[in-house]
C-alpha cells in the first residue's frame, strides 16, 4: 500500500468520481488537482470549466486563482462572466461542480459567508462567489473537506449554497434544476446522501478508519449506509500521477 497524506487521499478519492467526457466546474487547489488527476487517468476527455469563463483549460502549471492566465493559454474557449453563468451553468451544461466552505451540515447546506450573524459577523468569509449558482444548477455537487468538528455542524450559521435544506421535501419545493449535493469526501470517509430524506450518510470508510473515528469527528449522530464499503487504497499509479501534478507540494503538503 502506498503511503499517502490526507490531502493526497482526498484528491485520489474525488478524482475517481469523475467520468470521461463529463464537464466539471473546477475551483483552485484540491478540486483542480482532482480534475487534472482524473483527466490523466480514467477521464482524458474531461472538460474543465472555470467560473472565470475559461472553458476546456489545459493548465501547464498549478493556477493560484480561477482567473490565472495559464487557464487561458491553450483553452478551448473563453467567455464573459455573465455568459459563463448564463450559458454554461444556467444552461444546464455542467455535470459536476466542486464546492468548499467553512461549514457544512447534515443536509449538505454550505456556509462560505459568515461565522456568527450576517449583520454582526464574528468572522466575515468571502461570500458566495459562484457557489450558490453552482449548487443550484449542476447535476452533482462534490465537497472535499477535512473531517473536523468545526466544519461539520448540525446547522450552518448561514446557508450560502443550498443543499437539501432540512430534507428532500423542502429541497424539491424549490424546483432547482440542479441535482443537489452528491458526495462529501473527507480524509476519513466518503459520504453520500440518503435518497428519501436527503440526509448525509457514510458510504465508504477510507483505509484504516473505523466508523467510531468518523462519528467522533462529527457532532451529530451520523447515518451509515447498509451497504458500507471500504475505500480502495490509492494505487502506485494514482499516487505517482498526482505527485507529478503538484511537485512542490503546494496543495498536497
Amino acid at each position: 500500500m502506498v503511503e499517502c497524506s490526507p490531502s493526497e487521499l482526498m484528491v485520489v478519492v474525488a478524482a475517481r468520481e469523475l467520468k470521461d467526457k463529463e464537464t466539471v466546474l473546477v475551483g483552485v487547489g484540491i478540486p483542480n488537482l482532482a480534475a487534472n488527476l482524473a483527466k490523466k487517468l480514467q477521464a482524458p476527455g474531461l472538460n474543465m470549466v472555470y467560473e472565470s469563463g475559461a472553458v476546456g483549460s489545459n493548465p501547464s502549471r498549478m493556477p493560484l486563482s480561477i482567473g490565472d492566465p495559464c487557464l487561458v493559454t491553450g483553452a478551448k474557449s473563453v467567455c464573459s462572466m455573465y455568459e459563463q453563468f448564463a450559458y454554461y451553468l444556467q444552461g444546464g451544461r455542467i455535470d459536476v461542480g466542486f464546492l468548499g466552505g467553512a461549514q457544512i451540515d447534515k443536509y449538505g447546506n454550505i456556509n462560505s459567508t459568515v461565522i456568527g450573524q450576517y449583520k454582526t459577523p464574528k468572522v466575515r468569509l468571502p461570500g458566495s462567489g459562484g457557489a450558490c449558482d453552482i449548487a443550484s444548477n449542476v447535476k452533482k455537487i462534490i465537497v472535499i473537506t477535512p473531517h473536523e468538528k468545526r466544519r461539520f455542524v448540525e446547522k450552518v450559521d448561514f446557508k450560502t449554497s443550498p443543499g437539501f435544506i432540512d430534507g428532500k421535501a423542502a429541497w424539491k419545493a424549490l424546483k432547482l434544476q440542479g441535482g443537489g449535493p452528491y458526495a462529501v469526501i473527507t480524509n476519513l470517509c466518503t459520504m453520500k446522501f440518503d435518497d428519501a430524506s436527503g440526509e448525509m450518510m457514510v458510504t465508504s470508510l477510507h483505509p484504516g478508519v473505523t466508523i467510531e473515528k468518523v462519528q467522533e469527528n462529527t457532532p451529530w449522530k451520523l447515518k451509515v449506509s447498509d451497504k458500507l464499503e471500504q475505500t480502495p487504497a490509492p494505487t502506485e499509479k494514482e499516487a505517482a500521477t498526482l505527485r507529478s501534478l503538484d511537485p512542490h507540494k503546494i496543495y498536497l503538503g
Binding site: 493560484l64 482567473g67 444556467q90 466575515r124 468569509l125 461570500g127 462567489g129 449558482d133 444548477n137
Partner: protein, 305 residues
C-alpha cells in the same frame, strides 16, 4: 479623429470620478486597473460606492484609504490566498470607517451589470432560492413567472456612474481590443454612464478595424482613453505580463494591521506620482519574472468580395 479623449490617468480620474459616485473598476482577476484605483486614492475621493464582483486587492486598498462608503460585490476574498483583511476590518470593526455592503452571487452581480447594460427593468435567474442571502438583501426579489406561475428570483440593473476598463490595446478614440478572460468588462462599460479606457498600447484605427470581433467596447461608449502600461499590476494583462501571485500572497501579511497597510500605501500609492513612478520602484528581476512567453493565435481572414 477626436484625440481630445486621450489624457493621463490623473486627468481622467480628476475629470470623471466624483465624490459619492458608484464606480466599477472592471476585470475578473484579469486586467484589474490598479493604476486607476491608486489615482482615485491619491486624489482623495470619498463616499464612493465600490462595485466589483471580486473587490480584490484594489478595493481592499481603497477601503483602507477611506474612499468607500459601500461595497457592492459577490466574492470578497483574496483568490487562492484567503481574506481581504481591510474589507473585513471595515466590516467587523469599522476601521478606518464602517462600510455598508450590498451582496450578490457571481451570477447575480454579473446579471445586474447585464441588465444595466441592456436597460432591462430586472433580470430573472435560477439562483438564490434556498439561500439565506435574499432575506438580508431586499434588492434580491421574487416574482411570479407569468408563463409557468412558478416563483423566480430577480435582480435589479446596476448602472455605475463610471467604469474603468483596462485593455490590451485601443485607438485614441477608445475602440478597445480585449482578449483572455473577458470577465465583466463589456457589461460594465455598457452599463455605466461614463467609461475610462486604459490600455497597454495605443494602436491605429487600422489595427482595430483589422480585427473587429476583438473590439468589445466601441469608441462612442468611451469618455477617456489613458495610455497606461502595466496599469494592472499586481493583476495581469494576458500576453503582456503575468499575475504577480507572489504579491497576492504578500498582501495577506502587509494587511495584518491597519497601520502596516497604511505604511505600504505611503510607499507605493501616496509616495509615487503615477504608474510610471510605481514601475520604477519594481525591481527588474520582478518585472522579468512576469513577462510571458508569446503564444500567438492563428491569423484569420475577414475578407469579403
Amino acid at each position: 479623429m477626436d484625440s481630445s479623449k486621450l489624457m493621463s490617468m490623473k486627468e481622467a480620474v480628476g475629470k470623471h470620478v466624483k465624490d459619492g459616485d458608484t464606480v466599477y473598476l472592471a476585470g475578473f482577476t484579469h486586467m484589474i486597473p490598479f493604476a486607476a484605483g491608486h489615482e482615485i486614492i491619491r486624489q482623495g475621493r470619498k463616499d464612493l460606492t465600490l462595485a466589483r464582483a471580486t473587490p480584490d486587492i484594489i478595493y481592499d486598498q481603497m477601503i483602507a484609504a477611506g474612499c468607500g462608503k459601500k461595497v457592492v460585490f459577490s466574492y470578497a476574498g483574496n483568490p487562492g490566498v484567503g481574506s481581504l483583511r481591510c474589507f473585513r476590518r471595515a466590516l467587523e470593526k469599522g476601521q478606518p470607517k464602517p462600510i455598508e455592503i450590498d451582496e450578490y452571487t457571481h451570477f447575480g452581480l454579473s446579471g445586474r451589470l447585464f441588465a444595466g447594460a441592456t436597460n432591462m427593468p430586472f433580470l430573472p435567474m435560477r439562483t438564490n432560492k434556498g439561500s439565506d442571502l435574499p432575506p438580508f438583501n431586499p434588492n434580491i426579489k421574487t416574482v411570479k413567472d407569468p408563463y409557468t406561475g412558478d416563483d423566480i428570483m430577480v435582480v435589479p440593473p446596476l448602472k455605475p456612474d463610471v467604469a474603468v476598463v483596462h485593455v490590451q490595446r485601443a485607438d485614441v478614440n477608445g475602440n478597445a481590443h480585449i482578449w483572455g478572460i473577458i470577465g465583466e468588462q463589456k457589461d460594465a462599460a455598457f452599463a455605466s454612464k461614463k467609461v475610462i479606457i486604459s490600455c497597454e498600447e495605443i494602436v491605429g484605427e487600422d489595427v482595430i478595424r483589422s480585427d473587429p470581433n476583438r473590439t468589445l467596447i466601441p469608441d462612442f461608449a468611451v469618455h477617456a482613453v489613458v495610455h497606461e502600461p502595466w496599469c494592472a499590476h499586481p493583476s495581469y494583462t494576458q500576453g503582456y505580463y503575468d499575475r504577480d501571485n507572489e504579491f497576492y500572497m504578500q498582501w495577506d501579511d502587509i494587511t495584518k494591521e491597519h497601520d502596516s497597510t497604511m505604511k505600504w500605501m505611503q510607499e507605493w500609492v501616496y509616495g509615487v506620482e503615477d504608474r510610471q513612478a510605481y514601475m520604477k520602484k519594481l525591481t527588474s528581476e520582478k518585472v522579468l519574472k512576469l513577462l510571458p512567453k508569446a503564444a500567438y493565435s492563428a491569423p484569420v481572414s475577414y475578407g469579403s468580395v
